[in-house]
Symmetry: C2
Subunit: 340 residues, 2 copies
DNA sequence: TGCCATTATGCTTTCGTATGCACAACGGGT
DNA sequence: ACCCGTTGTGCATACGAAAGCATAATGGCA
């Protein structure tokens, strides 16, 4: 950029007007205690007068900090991530950081490179698979990052995760008391830590009551509505379908509800559905989904705090923060229908 | 930043290894035709070997371009904006730009300042109110911006907007043919151009059939589910409620469906509901919302293209791009119930 | 009155990349 | 053999803010 017409006002211009040096302007505007109140006042006045706005690039280059945090997700249209973005954004802003959204496209290889190239101070990984190499790359670069919700195997790092045992324990107990014995599940992708931990928790909870998942009644697929729809359609098409279906998350459960409706199967009379996450729509009167809840907004904020803390104190001990779950019973869970 | 341990590899390091000057590295990696193929190859090799990643800040400072575009929204949890972010993000990425999400908080005054301070090349305004001053500030700064969906009064700029007339025309015709005469509406905030244009289009469409909105059957509120719920609850509580309710958008319509369900009013037997936007959930079997559709994903991509085009060619003529609408009939619209 | 501590400010350099300009090397045409 | 055009590379510097260090101004105390 060589001297355009609309060239921005720089700290040097402010300095000239205020009759001080450029470094003094820099210090005054950042409220450095070494600058006198009188000077600060006149500098601020000059800055206001000129409409001075510090250059992000200049500051970044000089200080080595961008105050930008990347949030890596795959599917922005997924309601779960939509719910996450807002609290992360707000919490980061509260702490003086800006959020940069990044999506993981097909070629996983370049994701870490793109994150690194973007001059981020830190990264929140929200859709890591257990076998992802991105964390390795970030670690090698020395770029601070935290796991949100999902974790990867190769590298340990700060993480906020869900502890699904309690929620599934309560749900299973209630389901058994309602007479459910033939239980199905639409699980998430087996290369995600969330799908893995939920599957383990579900199986353990059922085992408490002497029950097990019949492999015939288990489906796996991405955490999205379409996948839940397909899987449930296939489950319900069987000769003796399960009376209750646990879904990998709420978004999948919406798909399950759609599949049941399309198949003319009543919920909860013919089949009960249980989700996971307790998204806002789960409690809508037209949905009323039974689900396993936890404070995902707080979990998102915690991830934001973890990453900024890691940036500011690189040698802090690694923190794994678990969020407890609880079963929330709504319309979509009812007594098991007698089987034919 | 004064010489840390994990200091990043710079173009100078690459230059040293490749035995060329730093500017040659810069040119070689950007595929400048003035650099010989042989040199390019050896520079690329050296860069790979060292794991060189160009500094965003350095490039931004030197070139005066950040390749970052801000997207300004209010409510990230709103499904409409969630649907918008993905296409904008992808289209920008395709054109070599990064998306920065910004939210409008309570103090509108500082929004423009925050956008300007963030070293953006351009901005997409998605939630402007007609009386917003942000566009003025951006124009004064010379920061390129475009309106998405909504426009403001004070400043003209590139815009992508919806043309609601056709959609409402079709919907009204169909509604009338189904016997609807007492029609209500839950409109958006009157300081948004979208709420204004939809209200005008709706009234005009009804007028075609000699109908008008009874002020008693009109409610206004924010474009969210809660507001749609409240407004509809109040509409339905009247002595002779409307047989059909037009909602400001789909998210509002979801609220209307919830309100009806809670009030024990059947949709569409007792009341019909029509939305606007055709969000993915509108076509779900458990929802099946009649609505007015347009290609919002393409509209989002177009906004992305407009802003980058404006950046690259500041003196291009201002473009206003309209997206046509069409009525989509689903379960929530049926024949009007006979009135008591 | 002189010295030192403190406070406030300025000078200089740095961060990493990009670009205008100078210039070296090379080759072809006469 | 000379000139000139072309091609490829280097040099110097700009971009804007921040920070280390130097130093001027001030005040207190002996």
């Amino acid at each position: 950029m060589r001297k355009g017409v609309g060239m921005a006002v720089t700290s040097r211009d402010v300095a000239r007007l205020a009759g001080v040096s450029q470094p003094t302007v820099s210090r005054a505007l950042r409220d450095d205690p070494r600058v006198s109140e009188a000077t600060k006042r006149s500098v601020r006045e000059a800055a206001d007068l000129l409409g001075y706005v510090p250059s992000d690039a200049g500051r970044a280059l000089s200080s080595g900090r961008t105050h930008r945090i990347g949030l890596l997700v795959t599917d922005l249209e997924n309601q779960f991530y939509a719910q996450i973005i807002a609290p992360v954004h707000l919490e980061l802003e509260r702490m003086g950081y800006q959020l940069m959204l990044h999506t993981e496209t097909a070629d996983n290889e370049t994701v870490a490179e793109r994150l690194i190239a973007n001059g981020l101070d830190g990264v929140i990984l929200a859709t890591t698979t257990v076998d992802s190499i991105a964390p390795l790359r970030l670690r090698d670069r020395g770029l601070p990052f935290v796991y949100f919700n999902r974790t990867a195997s190769f590298v340990d790092a700060d993480a906020t995760v869900v502890a699904p045992a309690a929620g599934f324990g309560q749900a299973a107990a209630r389901a058994v008391s309602l007479g459910h014995r033939h239980i199905g599940a639409v699980l998430g992708p087996s290369n995600t830590s969330t799908a893995q931990s939920r599957e383990i928790a579900l199986r353990a909870a059922l085992a408490q009551h002497g029950l097990a998942l019949d492999p015939q009644n288990v489906r796996r697929g991405p955490f999205d509505t379409h996948s839940g729809d397909e899987a449930t359609t296939s489950l319900l098409a069987q000769d003796s379908p399960p009376t209750l279906i646990f879904c990998g998350n709420d978004v999948v459960a919406y798909g399950a509800l759609n599949a049941a409706r399309r198949a003319g199967v009543s919920v909860p009379e013919d089949v009960s559905i249980i989700g996971f996450d307790d998204l806002p729509a789960a409690s809508w009167p037209i949905i009323e989904l039974s689900t396993i809840a936890y404070d995902f907004a707080e979990m998102a904020r915690e991830a934001a705090r973890l990453v900024t803390h890691r940036i500011e104190q690189a040698d802090a001990p690694i923190a794994h923060i678990e969020f407890e779950t609880a079963f929330i019973e709504r319309r979509t869970l009812a007594a098991a229908a007698a089987r034919v």
